[in-house]
């Protein structure tokens, strides 16, 4: 019982660190994750996470981030631990977006090529998928189910949605 408690503690700590450091330690973090209990996010579900994570990742102020997460908690009835998981994903996303933001002017001025923008875009999309699955596997099952709903609703409602 006590051993189980400490295992969970360590895993939680590693998940937190991985969420923050995953751009650098993605492969290492993959081993540190507990066995996945959630099916991978579908394309439609990732579409919602793209919106969520880009919105959070582009915020720069503490107040803005706090309000964003507070309203997200109302949308999905998140508990504080789940808000922390999403906040950590936002930190990761913010770092990558900043890196891309720094690179884009050089790309647009022709100093680096289209290959670079394609690589960064691919990296961002991979990051969104990775973070989406990390979130789904780090929140309560009921919350994971709720976070999957927008993707399905929008896909059903849109003309041209995936």
């Amino acid at each position: 019982m006590r051993l189980g408690f400490w295992v969970m503690k360590v895993l939680t700590l590693m998940k937190f660190l991985c969420a923050i450091l995953s751009p650098l330690f993605l492969s290492l973090c993959a081993y540190a994750q507990p066995a996945l209990t959630q099916p991978p996010a579908s394309n439609g579900e990732v579409a919602y996470f793209r919106f969520l994570l880009l919105g959070l990742g582009h915020l720069k102020t503490t107040t803005g981030i706090h309000n964003y997460e507070r309203l997200l908690a109302k949308q999905f009835d998140l508990n504080p631990q789940e808000v922390a998981v999403i906040d950590a994903a936002g930190v990761t996303m913010r770092a990558l977006l900043q890196q891309i933001h720094t690179s884009l002017p050089a790309i647009e001025s022709g100093q680096t090529g289209a290959v670079t923008v394609a690589r960064l875009t691919t990296q961002r999309e991979q990051m969104i998928t990775t973070l989406a699955n990390q979130i789904l596997n780090s929140v309560r099952p009921i919350t994971a189910a709720r976070l999957r709903v927008p993707g399905h609703l929008v896909a059903n409602a849109t003309n041209g949605g995936n």
């Binding site: 915020l59 309203l71 949308q75 709720r146 929008v154 003309n159």
Partner: protein
């Protein structure tokens, strides 16, 4: 002194020259040509592209287009920016496109670039100074009023001098189900109220048109306006501190359903009014004049029309959570529920922290009230209080302005039908101008947030 005058003159000259030299880049020129041509898709490369009034609004002429996209999948990376204050609309649909998707773009109205807000705080600016236009001035960022079926997703709208998006939808299909929608789009910024629209963020028109999972922050008037259509849907949107500048001159609703709108569905939205209000001490907001003569107290929802349905919305931090039939008499057959028939696992949401009352069925006279109301399992928390100094409470408790007021009461389990004639100034507990099928229950609990 000479140097000062000279420097000022030089700056003025530089500024005038900069405005006169609005130039579009070759990528935008190619993009415009694509929208006039016969391609099925047009992509604008990443970067900021200035749109000049000398060239005009970017018109979407090609009715066979299916996709208009930014250069990558982050809308922040591809920006269409207003290049001068004389340009009224950045992009507009001039054909009756069906099956068009517009995605991964930022439309930057550049509201603050062409002149400062009026220094006196009492006058609106006029173009080309577009900092504080009046609401009725016809500036949009994306005008899709003539769309038959169009999808807007992953589009950001910032710095709009009046409105962000007008979305039409003159038809819909059932197999597969499709109608005009705006999804996963952001209006304004949670970081900075000055990036919001001066007036309405989005106007949704037509039949079966929808707004799904958008974020709308600090819009000057409504965040979402379901404007006179039918069977429209607002689902899963987050609205925060809208009606911020109140550029139409008075209080109103963050989510507005216009008179004549019918069979609308409003579900699973989170609307937080952020206790925002203005009064004679406010002065200006974002440098623009606000109504100065009396307290202006916006509501999370302002509702008119008939046969409209509300499911499990979070309605927070206003004086009145939801006002119905305030100015016209066509508000009837309204269903308000805490359940969500589209998603049985949906999170429970509340009418929370509304300092006067959760629901205000107003009507315009005793003979012109709101009727045909059903309240089903709604949850009301922390409402009708008077002691919190951080909230705009101007009248002595109990205010009892009518409609329904659950003072510190959870209405969980309240399933009944209510028919109001007009209930001003009574309330559901003491008035005599209403009838309902059964008493509310006082069971249930409020979330701690």
């Amino acid at each position: 002194m000479w140097w000062g005058v000279s420097a000022l003159s030089a700056l003025t000259l530089i500024s005038s020259t900069a405005r006169a030299q609005c130039r579009e880049d070759s990528d935008l020129t190619s993009f415009r040509a694509c929208l006039r041509g016969s391609a099925s898709s047009c992509t604008l490369p990443t970067g900021t592209h200035t749109v000049c009034s000398s060239v005009g609004t970017i018109n979407i002429v090609n009715s066979s287009l299916t996709a208009i996209s930014g250069g990558d999948s982050d809308p922040a990376d591809t920006v269409l920016q207003r290049g001068d204050g004389s340009l009224q609309t950045i992009m507009s649909l001039t054909s009756a496109a069906q099956g068009l998707t517009i995605e991964y773009l930022t439309l930057d109205g550049n509201r603050w670039a062409f002149g400062s807000p009026p220094s006196g705080g009492t006058q609106y600016s006029t173009a080309p100074n577009i900092s504080c236009l009046i609401q009725s001035t016809g500036y949009y960022e994306l005008n899709l009023a003539s769309a038959t079926i169009a999808t807007v997703w992953y589009v950001n709208f910032i710095n709009d001098p009046v409105a962000g998006l007008i979305l039409g939808g003159s038809t819909y299909t059932t197999s597969p189900p499709a109608a005009s929608t705006v999804d996963y789009s952001t209006f304004g910024s949670m970081d900075d109220s000055a990036q919001a629209a001066r007036a309405t963020a989005m106007m949704v028109e037509g039949t079966h048109s929808g707004a799904y999972y958008n974020h709308i922050y600090y819009a000057g008037t409504a965040g979402i306006n379901l404007n006179g259509g039918n069977n429209q849907i607002a689902y899963g949107n987050t609205l925060y501190s809208n009606r911020y500048e109140m550029s139409d001159g008075g209080q109103g609703g963050d989510l507005f359903i216009a008179p004549g709108t019918y069979a609308a569905t409003v579900a699973a939205n989170v609307i937080d009014q952020n206790f925002w209000f203005t009064d004679s001490s406010t002065g200006t907001v974002n440098g623009c004049p606000v109504p100065a003569d009396e307290p202006q107290l916006p509501y999370p929802m302002e509702i008119y029309g008939y046969d409209n349905y509300f499911y499990n919305n979070e309605v927070d931090a206003g004086t009145i959570g939801m006002t119905l039939g305030q100015a016209t008499g066509d508000t009837y057959n309204i269903y308000i529920s805490g359940a969500n028939p589209f998603d049985g696992s949906d999170a429970p949401r509340y009418f929370n922290d509304n300092s006067w009352t959760a629901l205000f069925f107003l009507g315009t006279s005793y003979s012109n009230g709101v009727s045909g109301v059903t309240l089903d399992q709604i949850r009301v928390c922390n409402t009708g209080y008077s002691s919190d100094p951080s909230t705009p409470y101007y009248y002595s408790a109990p205010f009892g302005i009518g409609g329904i007021s659950f003072n510190y009461t959870s209405g969980t389990g309240f399933t009944t039908s209510v028919t109001f004639g007009s209930n001003y100034p009574g309330n559901i507990y003491s008035g005599s101008t209403y009838s309902f099928a059964g008493p509310p229950s006082s069971t249930g609990s409020c979330p701690s947030r």
